[in-house]
Structure formats: structure tokens, C-alpha cells
């Protein structure tokens, strides 16, 4: 049956990933200096979130670097990211090769080279941290963030930083921490640290007005 094969892709990836993932070793100690008092942080966090929530659409350019232990040099990719409130996020990678990822609701559609894969995040929660961290932040949806992560806030409205740690054990087996830095309602930097030591760093920039 055709549909039997559907979803195998991610399964193949995950069961292998989970099996191969080394036990978390030598985690980077969280930067204690940036942590502010929780109470002060909550007010600031809410201010940032409500500012973010006011944006209904967004379009940014990104450059992403991935540091994989299997490769001797980082992988670089770039493209643009589009956001439509409340829950649609599209990541269009243009270089080094075209690829589109669309997250709408709980469905992630990946398209490259004429093939598309549809993934239900409810079925593959392991992908969730990679996409929900960015989407929920863009939406200014604090409760959505807190459903998946332990959220720590640092800085000010002008220069803030969110540190997201997955709550779920299973999620922690792939993603250790996500850090998002921004200013006002702009995201500037997203760093995803994986449990196996690999990490990715995405730098975001609002394109110059045409």
C-alpha cells in the first residue's frame, strides 16, 4: 500500500538518530551571567511577546551555519523566511540548493528537487523544537513556547535573549537548547544546540526596503 511508505522517511531518520545519539556529554554550561532575576524577566518577557504578537506578517533573510561533527567545516545555507500569523512559517532556502519548508498548523511540508514530504508533527514530535521555537517566538505566543520549553529571559526590550530548554525527555534526546536573540520585535539570531554536540546558527536580517 502506498501510504505505508509515507512517514518512513522520518522514522528512518529518527530511529537511527535516536539509536546513534550519544548520551549527552559535557553540556555547555548555561551562561549564568546573562540570567536575570525571574520576576523582573517575566515583565520584560511579556513586553517582548506582546510586541512580537502585534506583527501579523514578517519577512527576513537568513544565513545559517551548521556545525556538524561529521564534517570538517560548517555547512552554510541562506534564503528567506516568511511568517504569517498565527501559525504559518515558511523557510525558503535558496543556496546552496533550493528547498522549501512550510510549517502550517501541525503539518510540516518539505519540498526539494520536485519531491515533497508531508510530516505530521504530532506524529514526529522530535522535529518540534526545531520549528516551534522560532514560530512561537514570532507569534509572541508565550504559552505555546512554555508547552514545549522551559523559557528563560535575559536582557531588555532593546536587546533580549530567550533560552529555551525542551521540557520533554524525548525531545531532549535530539535538541538540548535553543537560544533566540532579538531586539524589540525583530529576531536576530537563532542557535540550536543538539544533544550530540552539533549545532546550527541562524542569523536573521530584515531585508532593505525595496
Amino acid at each position: 500500500m502506498r501510504w505505508c511508505a509515507a512517514g518512513l522517511l522520518m522514522l528512518a531518520a529518527f530511529s537511527a538518530a535516536i539509536g546513534a545519539a550519544p548520551v549527552a556529554t559535557a553540556p555547555d554550561a548555561p551562561n549564568q551571567a546573562t540570567r536575570t532575576a525571574p520576576r523582573a524577566g517575566i515583565a520584560e518577557l511579556d513586553a517582548v511577546m506582546s510586541l512580537l504578537a502585534m506583527r501579523r506578517h514578517g519577512r527576513v533573510e537568513f544565513i545559517e551555519q551548521q556545525f556538524l561533527h561529521i564534517l570538517n567545516h560548517p555547512l552554510e545555507s541562506s534564503g528567506e523566511m516568511l511568517y504569517d500569523a498565527p501559525d504559518r512559517l515558511e523557510k525558503r532556502t535558496l543556496l546552496p540548493r533550493a528547498e522549501t519548508l512550510v510549517l502550517a498548523g501541525a503539518v510540516l511540508t518539505a519540498e526539494r528537487g520536485g519531491h515533497s514530504h508531508v510530516l505530521d508533527l504530532r506524529r514526529y514530535p522530535q522535529i518540534l523544537p526545531f520549528v516551534e521555537s522560532i514560530r512561537a517566538t514570532l507569534a509572541g505566543d508565550r504559552s505555546a513556547l512554555e508547552r514545549v520549553f522551559h523559557v528563560e529571559f535575559a536582557g531588555s526590550l532593546q536587546r533580549w535573549s530567550l533560552t529555551l530548554t525542551p521540557l520533554d525527555h524525548q525531545l531532549m534526546r535530539t535538541v538540548k537548547q535553543v537560544q533566540i536573540d532579538g531586539s524589540q520585535d525583530q529576531l536576530q539570531r537563532v542557535e540550536i544546540r543538539q544533544t550530540d554536540g552539533d549545532r546550527s546558527l541562524m542569523t536573521l536580517r530584515t531585508p532593505a526596503a525595496p
Binding site: 501510504w3 511508505a5 512517514g7 522517511l9 522514522l11 528512518a12 531518520a13 551548521q66 570538517n72
Partner: protein, 789 residues
């Protein structure tokens, strides 16, 4: 032997013999009644598909009501139970029960399964390109997770195989099981081990699902679980419910019409012996009719039995004529015997009907041919019993209640019309005929329904529900497919691979959107060998990997697992069909392979470019022919089955016209007067035209069953017209009241019997009822008014 006892004894012997044959006959209820007796190769494939093809074995299961989590739990419990049941070859509800095994199988055999495996890909430049591609794919969150496969599978064969297999998106999933797009129902698909044409096995499978569902619900003794409801759809479910529906309708309607007809006859006869004797010709006709079908065809189609009710309509008339018309004889020995005065007319009426039904005998539609044999033998038997057995059984000086007053009253009603002049009557006939013809002319384009679905007893609501479930499951009904056949499994896999090359080109030019092939699950031995020999030896591969990884930022040392896996694959045996066992791929493979007698067929279902767009099968055929794939055939299931039915319909129309011609010849020979023949036939043709026009005005499209109904109008009505013709010629005023009375009673019983059919839920029975009931009444009316000296 005493003649008075000899004839009934012979009759009893015949009926007893026929009863034995009826009891031992083989009854079939599958689709074969609609399938041609001598199929073309394409039709044979169609027949095989409809009967036992993979699509015919699917049962779609939906759990509705209750709340989502409970539905998911019930679905899981139901799935677990059904998977243990050997009646089902596969059960899928979205739970990843076989995914680990699937993954292992695909990963282990990736170098034999992937169509990317060629010698060039495993030389240094090919490896370089493949690894570069794989590394590029790591850049997405989804690809990032593939990185752990990289040391083993740097060329990305696993991903490629999955793309190869994954042609349609998976159904939505919630709480671990498949759900509809709107989340309102949990979904599952069960494939039965038995073929779809085995209606008994399908019924057992449906019962097993019901029982498993009930048990699954009991596992969660909460009100939420009790609220969950089970619904099923699919070809087998339809077949079972259609059979039950037809059986129910046939039984109920037979009982209802029997009661009504018996009540009517009792009201008329006021005599229990007459009533009992009057049913003897009907019962004998039915039993002998079925026995004749069993003897001629070997098997009896359920649908033939369904039509059995049609015979009651005419055969009961014979006994009515006998009792009513022989009354004066019984009372007055001096009057001429019924056998001498009335029998010749009834005999002619019967022969007319036989001519009509004989036209069905050469039909390529087995259902119609059986109906022809059944009607002819049944009518002849009923008439003979009326003629020879009833008089012998009748107690001496027996007479029924006098119905002359009824006849006199009818005669008075008719007298008004009889004051009209002959030319006035002719004018009325011409006006009615012209009006009917003009209505038919207006509807000429849409008069006949040429789709097989017109005969389907499945309601439109059920068909829509089925389509909804299929939409949710991404299991669109396969309409077009390429079929390749051969003497062995491996030979059809090879042919499928050759056809796939052609079809791949058609995907590129967007003639088709895509296709499935069993060779994706199990490549032919030749292909597997070719892929295996594409893999280089260890030393050579190590050197190629060293060159290939240069400049990619990947240390070739990291690819040691890859070298190991390739070496293992080089020495591994080829994959066989047995290796698929225990994986979900087995069901996918089995669905595309059909093994019948000494032939193997591989099915390659085609997908349209866009969902609503029709596929250009002519271009597919042309492309396959250009590639000289003579053993590959393109089959459009719907078009083929509609063409089949349209062929039956056209043939049946032609045959019926031939039947009418035969009736004309028969009447010309016996009546020896074209004018009398016209007088007999005009009311019947007028009745048929009027009914057809009436149906067209009501927006009913005529099917093959309406045509059978029209034949019945002619068969039943010919008796009426012949009686009136005889009356007009013999000028026997005294008999008129009796004739009229017997005709009115006979007509009432026919209208009751067929009128009841109109209330059934089964389209074929409704078609018969709505045609014959008004048609028989009109035939009597027209015959009474138009036939006169």
C-alpha cells in the same frame, strides 16, 4: 392409466424433479451476472480486477462519534484484534506496528532496491556528486536528522528508496492513529485474504470487524467509548449489503404481493380450493424455470431469482382466465369446453411472450440470457399446468363465485368509449403516440443511462461516504492501470520494470502524474543482479571514496561503515517475495501482483496529473506500443465496465426489436390478417411508448431493466389484446362480461405485484416496477378501447 390421474401424476413428478434440481443448484451472487460470457482479453482483466483484484478486497473502516482520544484507543484495540485474524492479509490504522521492520528491511537491502545504483554512481565522480548532494540535504531540520545515517549511507539510497515508494501523502495522524482531515473520525484499512467476489467470505470478514470492534469498545468501559460508532465501506461491504438488500426486498415484496394477490383472488373466487389450485401454475412455473436455468447454465445468478417475481405477474393470469372463463362450462355441460374456446387464445398469448423473451437468449449479458430461459420455461410450464393439470384436478361441477356483474360494470364503462367512431379512436391513438414520441425525441440524448453504476444497488449517499473515506485515506479509487502479464513472477517484474521506464518518461512530459509498480517493492532478479554487480570491491571502493570525499569536508575515515555495508551487500543473496513477509511492503506488493491459474499479472496503477483531470490513456498506450511492450495493456476500469454495459444495452435494444419482429411474424401467421395484427399490437406499442415517455418526463433514465420491463408489458398485454381481438371476431356478446372480468382481475394482480416493486430500495426492482405496473394497466385500457370490430 387413468388419464384423470395420469396427468397430475406426471406433473407432480416433473415438479418434484425440478425441486431436486433447484435445491442442488449452485447459486452465485457475485458480479458475474453482469460480466460477459465470452470476454475479450481486456474484459477478462476487468473481470479479474472486479472479482479478486486488490481493490476488491479493501474494507475501509471509520470510527465516529465519541471523542478523539477514545477513538484512537478503540482504533488501536481494534487493529490489534484484526491483525491476529487470519481472514485479513493486512490491517493498517496508522500505528507504526511494522515500521521498525520496514526500516530494517529497506536499510538492509538498499543497494538492491534503489534504482540509483549503477556502476557510474559508485565510481569516484559519481560518489562525489552523491555525497555532496547528501551533505547538502543535511541543512534542513529534517535533513539534520539524517546525519546519523551518513556514515553508512553517504549516497542517500535510503532516502531515495523512500521517495520511490512514497507516492502519495500519508493520511493525517492524531494520537497515533489515522484520522480524517477534519479529525472527526479515526480511520483504518483492512485487506481481506479472500477475493472480493467471495461475498460469503466478505460477509464473515465484516462480521469479524464488528465483533472485534465490540470487544475493543468493551476494553474501555467508559461512556465515551460506548459512544464510538463503527462504519465500514468498500466493494465487499457494498456487495454484502446489496445482497442483503436484494434478498430482503425480494422476500418482503414477494410476501406482500403474494398476500395482496391471494386476498384479491379470494375476494373474486370466494373458494379456497380455487385459490390453492390457482397458485399451482405459478409455483410450478417458478420451480421449473429455475431448474431450467440450472440445467442450461450450470449456475443460477441471484439476480435471476430476483427477477422471479416477474413471472408471477403473467403466470397467475393463466389460472385467473381459466377459473373465470370456464365457469359457464362447469355450470352447463352443453357449452363448449374452455379448452376449445379459450385455450387457443391463451396459447397464442403465451407464444407471443415466448417470442419476446426468446430475444433475450442470445444476449452476451448472462443475467439477461438466464432471465430469458427462466421466463420461457416458466411461462410454458405455467400455461401447460393450467391447460392440462387444473381441469383434471378440478372437482366436478366446481365453480367459483360469479364475476359476471364485475364484467358487466366494466363493459358499461367501456361502452361510452365504444360510441366513438373508428376514425376517432384511431385519431386518439395517433395523438397519444405522437405526443409520446415527441417527448422521447426531446429526451433522445439522455434517454438511456449507459453507465454500469445505474444498476448499482449502492445508494448515492453510501457512494459519497466511500469517496470521503478514500479521500481522507489518500486511497483514491484506481481507475486507470497498466497491466503486464507473463508466465512467472520474475518475468512480470521484468516487464513491469520495462513499462516503468516508459511511464517514467510520461511523468516527465506530464501525461501522467505518477504510477506505482510492484518492482519498486521487489525488483526482478536481473535488475537486482545488475545492481549488485554495480557495487565495486573493497579496495576499489576505498580508493573511490578517498577521491570522492576530497574537498567535501568529510574525512573518508568516517565512511568505514559504508565500505562495510557495501561489501556485505555485494555478497548478500537476492531479495525474494518471502523476504517481504512481516513488513508493510508485503501488502503493497501483494496489492500489485495478481496470480491466476498459470498467469502472473503485475499492476501499475496510474495517477492523474491533477486530481480532477482525466488521464489520456491513448497516449499511454501509444507510448507502450512504441517501446514494443506487447505484453503491457492499459486498462481504464470505469470506461471498460461502462463500455461493457453500454454494449449489453445496445445489444438488448436490438434483440428486443428482433423479438417484436418475431411477434409480428407469429401473429401474422396465426391471425392471417395484417389489420388484426395491427389491432393487437397497437395498444401494446402505445402502452410501451406512453410509459417510456412518462419515465422520461419524470427525469428517469432508462436502463436495461426498463427494457426488460417493456418486454414484460408486451408479454402480459398481448393476452389482453388477443382476448379483445377474439371477442371482436367471434361477436359472442355473452362472453364479453366474463372476458372483461377475467382481464380486470388479471390486470389488478399484475399491477399489484409490480406496483409493490416500485417501493423497493433496489434500483433494478424499482425499474421493473415503475415500467410494468403502469404499462400493464395502460395496455389493458388501450386494448379495451382500441380493439373493436
Amino acid at each position: 392409466m387413468n388419464r384423470r390421474l395420469g396427468v397430475p401424476a406426471l406433473w407432480l413428478l416433473c415438479v418434484a424433479l425440478a425441486s431436486v434440481i433447484v435445491m442442488r443448484a449452485h447459486y452465485v451472487t457475485d458480479l458475474s451476472a453482469f460480466l460477459p460470457a465470452k470476454p475479450t482479453p481486456a474484459q477478462q482483466l476487468l473481470v479479474d480486477q472486479l472479482r479478486d483484484g486488490p481493490a476488491s478486497r479493501l474494507i475501509l473502516i471509520a470510527l465516529e462519534q465519541g471523542e478523539p482520544l477514545t477513538r484512537a484507543r478503540v482504533s488501536a484495540a481494534l487493529g490489534a484484534r484484526l491483525r491476529r485474524d487470519s481472514q485479513f492479509s493486512s490491517v493498517n490504522n496508522g500505528e507504526p506496528v511494522t515500521e521498525e521492520r520496514d526500516r530494517q528491511f529497506l536499510f538492509l537491502h538498499r543497494y538492491l532496491l534503489s534504482d540509483d545504483v549503477t556502476p557510474a554512481r559508485f565510481a569516484a565522480p559519481g560518489l562525489h556528486a552523491a555525497i555532496e548532494d547528501t551533505i547538502g540535504g543535511l541543512a534542513s531540520p529534517e535533513g539534520l536528522l539524517l546525519k546519523s545515517l551518513l556514515p553508512n549511507d553517504p549516497t542517500g539510497e535510503m532516502l531515495h528508496i523512500i521517495d520511490q515508494l512514497q507516492r502519495t501523502p500519508a493520511p493525517a495522524t492524531s494520537d497515533g492513529v489515522w484520522v480524517s482531515l477534519d479529525g472527526s473520525r479515526a480511520l483504518a484499512v483492512a485487506q481481506t485474504a479472500a477475493g472480493g467476489s467471495d461475498t460469503d467470505a466478505q460477509a464473515r470478514a465484516i462480521e469479524a470487524i464488528r465483533a472485534a470492534f465490540a470487544a475493543a469498545v468493551r476494553e474501555y468501559p467508559t461512556p465515551a467509548a460506548a459512544a464510538v460508532q463503527l462504519k465500514m465501506s468498500g466493494p465487499g461491504v457494498f456487495a454484502v449489503s446489496a445482497r442483503a438488500k436484494i434478498e430482503r426486498a425480494a422476500v418482503r415484496l414477494s410476501i406482500a404481493s403474494s398476500i395482496l394477490v391471494v386476498a384479491l383472488l379470494f375476494a373474486v373466487y370466494r373458494s379456497l380450493p380455487a385459490l390453492a389450485l390457482g397458485l399451482a401454475p405459478v409455483a410450478s412455473g417458478a420451480v421449473i424455470g429455475i431448474a431450467a436455468v440450472a440445467l442450461v447454465f450450470g449456475t443460477v445468478h441471484g439476480i435471476t431469482l430476483g427477477f422471479g417475481i416477474t413471472l408471477i405477474g403473467e403466470s397467475v393470469d393463466y389460472s385467473i382466465y381459466f377459473f373465470v372463463q370456464s365457469r359457464p362450462v362447469a355450470l352447463n355441460k352443453a357449452s363448449p369446453s374452455w379448452q376449445r374456446t379459450w385455450w387457443p387464445t391463451i396459447r397464442l398469448g403465451m407464444l407471443t411472450s415466448v417470442c419476446g423473451f426468446a430475444s433475450l437468449l442470445p444476449s452476451g449479458f448472462p443475467g439477461l440470457a438466464q432471465l430469458g430461459v427462466y421466463s420461457i420455461s416458466g411461462l410454458v410450464a405455467a400455461a401447460l399446468v393450467t391447460r392440462y393439470v387444473l381441469p383434471a384436478l378440478l372437482p366436478s361441477r366446481f365453480a367459483i363465485h360469479d364475476v359476471t356483474p364485475l364484467g358487466t360494470q366494466v363493459a358499461r364503462l367501456l361502452n361510452r368509449s365504444r360510441q366513438l367512431r373508428r376514425w376517432q379512436l384511431a385519431a386518439i391513438g395517433v395523438v397519444i403516440a405522437a405526443a409520446a414520441l415527441s417527448v422521447l425525441h426531446q429526451h433522445v440524448g439522455s434517454l438511456w443511462n449507459r453507465e454500469l453504476a445505474a444498476l448499482s444497488p449502492v445508494s448515492a449517499a453510501d457512494q459519497n461516504y466511500d469517496a470521503t473515506l478514500r479521500g481522507d485515506l489518500g486511497a483514491a479509487d484506481v481507475r486507470e492501470l497498466v497491466i503486464v502479464s507473463g508466465p512467472t513472477l520474475d518475468s512480470v517484474l521484468e516487464s513491469a520494470e520495462r513499462a516503468a521506464q516508459v511511464l517514467g518518461g510520461l511523468v516527465g512530459t506530464r501525461v501522467i502524474g505518477g504510477f506505482d509498480s510492484p518492482a519498486n517493492y521487489l525488483p526482478s532478479a536481473a535488475t537486482q543482479k545488475a545492481r549488485r554487480t554495480s557495487l565495486p570491491g573493497p579496495a576499489q571502493l576505498q580508493e573511490s571514496v578517498r577521491q570522492a570525499t576530497a574537498g567535501l569536508g568529510l574525512d573518508s575515515e568516517r565512511l568505514q561503515p559504508f565500505l562495510r555495508d557495501v561489501e556485505t551487500a555485494r555478497n548478500a543473496p537476492l531479495i525474494t517475495a518471502q523476504d517481504l513477509q512481516g513488513t508493510s511492503l508485503r501488502a503493497g506488493f501483494d496489492a500489485l501482483i495478481l496470480h491466476q491459474r498459470d498467469r502472473w499479472n503485475a499492476l501499475l496503477p496510474l495517477h492523474a496529473v491533477a486530481a480532477a483531470q482525466a488521464l489520456d490513456t491513448a497516449r499511454v498506450t501509444a507510448a507502450l506500443q512504441r517501446a514494443e511492450l506487447s505484453d503491457a495493456q492499459v486498462l481504464d476500469l470505469k470506461r471498460e465496465s461502462d463500455a461493457l454495459y453500454a454494449g449489453y444495452l445496445t445489444e438488448a435494444i436490438r434483440l428486443s426489436l428482433a423479438g417484436v419482429l418475431a411477434i409480428i411474424v407469429l401473429l401474422l401467421i396465426t391471425l392471417r390478417s395484417p389489420l388484426r395484427v395491427m389491432r393487437v399490437l397497437a395498444p401494446l406499442l402505445l402502452a410501451v411508448l406512453t410509459v417510456a415517455a412518462g419515465l422520461a418526463l419524470c427525469g428517469v433514465q432508462l436502463t436495461i431493466l426498463h427494457l426488460v420491463g417493456m418486454l414484460l408489458i408486451v408479454a402480459v398485454g398481448s393476452n389482453y389484446a388477443l382476448f379483445f381481438d377474439r371477442q371482436a371476431n367471434l361477436h359472442e356478446a355473452g362472453g364479453e362480461a366474463l372476458t372483461l372480468a377475467s382481464l380486470v382481475i388479471a390486470n389488478a394482480s399484475t399491477v399489484i405485484g409490480f406496483g409493490l416493486l416500485s417501493f423497493s430500495q433496489v434500483p433494478v426492482l424499482v425499474a421493473l416496477g415503475t415500467t410494468v405496473a403502469p404499462g400493464a394497466f395502460l395496455a389493458l385500457l388501450f386494448a379495451a378501447v382500441l380493439s373493436r370490430a
